[in-house]
């Protein structure tokens, strides 16, 4: 496992957008359907978990911010601990990807957007009762009106892109 900076491009091979929160670091070429079908399957599992754990529930988010239930803290806390142990194991045993490549972790450098954007997202999260993942799951679980929320979120991302260079970071 190696840790790289956001801006890091190895031998000019990796050309993911800088500051991409979810970059693709696979070097081996990927086909559109055959390679990506496994991420569709992963997404499906995630969608099922999101619904069955009720993390997509607007009420659960209200409970969390009112400190009236441990549920959401338990879910996120367990997820972080499980994720962290997994990453440590990948590092300790130098596990490779199924393509035999070294696992790459990106260092997320601090900028003031983490705070200003984070606060903005938090305000929105409490209203919509959903972060981006659950937005998709809410639509899938029959709340089709959330398509409007999703379109607004896409518009928000677009407006950020429009003013990115003028915003404090």
């Amino acid at each position: 496992m190696k840790i790289v900076n956001d801006e890091f491009i190895e031998n000019g091979v990796i050309t993911h957008p800088d500051e991409c929160a979810a970059p693709n670091d696979q070097i081996a070429p990927e086909s559109m359907i055959a390679s990506n079908i496994k991420y569709l399957a992963m997404g499906m599992l995630f969608g099922i978990i999101a619904v069955k754990s009720e993390i997509i529930s607007w009420y659960r988010i209200q409970e969390m911010f009112r400190l009236q239930s441990f549920h959401m803290y338990g879910v996120i806390g367990t997820a972080v601990i499980t994720g962290a142990i997994s990453v440590l194991l990948i590092k300790r045993f130098n596990l490779k990807t199924i393509q035999g490549e070294e696992v790459v972790i990106h260092k997320k450098n601090f900028h003031w957007g983490n705070v200003i954007g984070g606060l903005t997202f938090g305000l929105g999260w409490a209203i919509t009762g959903a972060c981006p993942g659950p937005l998709f799951a809410q639509i899938g679980s029959g709340f089709l009106v959330i398509i409007v929320t999703l379109l607004s979120a896409i518009a928000g991302t677009f407006v950020y892109g429009l003013f990115q260079e003028k915003l404090p970071h």
């Binding site: 969608g47 705070v115 809410q138 009106v145 928000g156 991302t157």
Partner: protein, 188 residues
């Protein structure tokens, strides 16, 4: 077995499964868990623009769009086959707090009195769909990630900036629920 799965899952089961998404994506093909990026890729793919922020090879990142399409499909499967007929069990305190604001806990995932098509062109729609959604999309991209990218992936890899971002998410949420929301609900 299926009856068992139909029940709401305990936090430690759900949390562990969500946490396993991190190594699964890394080992399947060096992908970083993060969902808000999909919104950026949708902008890059669908909106013809010269904005530098959207000038990149989005096709290389398309796995992320497959992942979110999967979330929609997975949630539909959960609804169709694994649906829990019992109402969502939330805290009595939350039920009474929401009732004081005029929101009746209806036992569904989300209050139908707010999240329905009739409300699209009302003040409720403007606040809950348009404004809320905008802040989620704008805020997550400005922060460089959301609950998945920062709070789960970022904290799992011990990143200080993700810890700061996660604390900011929480402060924003507490501020909305305790300070702004009571005022907002009177307004709409």
């Amino acid at each position: 077995m299926i009856e068992f799965i139909r029940q709401p899952w305990a936090w430690y089961v759900s949390g562990a499964l969500i946490g396993l998404t991190v190594p699964a994506l890394l080992l399947l093909g060096n992908k970083h868990f993060g969902i808000s990026s999909s919104l950026r890729h949708i902008c890059a793919a669908c909106l013809p623009t010269k904005i530098p922020f959207f000038q990149y090879d989005w096709k290389r990142e398309i796995w992320n769009l497959f992942f979110v399409a999967g979330i929609v499909a997975g949630a539909s499967i959960a609804l169709a086959f694994l649906n829990n007929p019992e109402p969502v069990q939330i805290s009595e305190n939350t039920i009474s707090d929401l009732a004081a604001l005029g929101i009746v806990a209806d036992g569904q995932m989300m209050p139908a009195s707010i999240f329905s098509f009739e409300n699209i062109f009302t003040m409720k729609g403007l606040v809950f769909f348009v404004m809320g959604g905008f802040m989620v999309g704008f805020g997550t991209r400005y922060a460089g990630g959301c609950t998945s990218g920062h709070s789960i992936m970022g904290l799992s890899t011990f990143q200080l900036s993700s810890l700061i971002a996660t604390c900011s998410f929480m402060v924003g949420g507490f501020t909305m629920v305790h300070l702004i929301f009571p005022w907002l609900m009177k307004l709409i």
